[in-house]
Assembly symmetry: C3
Homo-oligomer: 155 residues x 3
């Protein structure tokens, strides 16, 4: 059902990169999956690089919202890597959205809606989640967004 | 019991705003409740706005401590929205306190005690929690604090 | 088994400080342990103090990597405080690494490998975890790193 919806939306959930050292995309314990923080990578490259703000060269909210959505897609890829098919998702429980931003930035919510709206479109009621959106000094590789999930799955 | 204590303390746990889009105040899975990050809102307005630090216009530790307590009250409101009464709390398990601050700020602990002391006063032994306190570049709407909870509840 | 490995590695897991107010090193709920965020303290003092970056007086990646490992050791001490022996660890589920850094810093991953490699060496397959690494404006006491864990343990 969810996999069909993803296809109908024209989305492709990528395969996640092979584990690096002691660190994997997601871990399943009972009915919970905890993902690693996911950057807005597409084919091994960041969708955008930098910090959200108003200075020259800064990233704008629209671009960062697309990055949040891509981080969300990659987080689903991480979930899929440990449960086989996203049809086994019971509930997107918690979404934490880390946004690299200037100290006067206030519109984190608009950015993270990129991920939240995606989850709702794919999963319907099962995609309605708790969420924290917070502003960081910088993220790995200069990514503007990083998204991690706690997901309830069929045990 | 906890609801009586809250009344005796003269506290009011507000009702949380209606869900916005794909994002709700809290999600319950089995015996766990995960809340969204809660800002120090009172009647739809922030208790204070800005960053904790020593620059002109910055927020001081005492004001930020009150904001952390208010974020904590709102986090309890989020929990209550999915379990009906806070008497169903078994344990405050984990408190994460995000504090918007300058890069030379060091006193995060004093601020987050505003939330921790509140939970202990309300819940006694059931309010003794694990905690992370961390400093952010900026939080949504310019809030100085954001608090999220993991809570064990009657299943 | 894990305790023997820790001894063979020449590591000492310290005892954690006594609870301060409403806040403890870790909480166990069923098969999960949630730890508090742990700073790189050794005998009550930070291994290093400051922010990771390229400015004069900033901390370099190698030093911060050692701090991440020390934060990881202290996180294991927090786990041990609620399960008696680390032989009762079933799986290191999630590692969140908070790194105080400048806004142009990008190498969070190298720093957090200090903790990840430690967990893998001690716990083998049981130490392979999901991880988020993020950059903060500042951490408590001026610490460069703070590490928190979600761990699966024998119930």
């Amino acid at each position: 059902m969810f996999e069909v919806k993803i296809s109908q939306m024209g989305l492709v959930i990528p395969t996640v990169p092979a584990p690096i050292a002691a660190y994997v995309p997601a871990v399943k314990v009972g009915e919970f999956v905890f993902t690693s923080g996911q950057l807005p990578m597409v084919d091994g490259k960041l969708l955008a690089q930098g910090i959200v703000g108003d200075l020259a060269g800064d990233i704008d909210v629209e671009t960062a919202k697309k990055c949040a959505a891509q981080s969300g897609i990659n987080a689903l890829a991480a979930v899929k890597s440990v449960i086989g098919t996203l049809d086994n998702v019971v509930r997107i429980v918690k979404v934490t959205g880390f946004i690299a931003c200037r100290s006067d930035f206030t519109n984190h919510s608009a950015i993270m809606n990129g991920a939240s709206e995606l989850f709702q479109e794919i999963f319907g009621d099962a995609g309605v989640h708790a969420r924290s959106s917070v502003g960081m000094s910088a993220l790995p590789l200069g990514a503007p967004t990083e998204v991690e999930l706690v997901v309830q799955v069929r045990a």
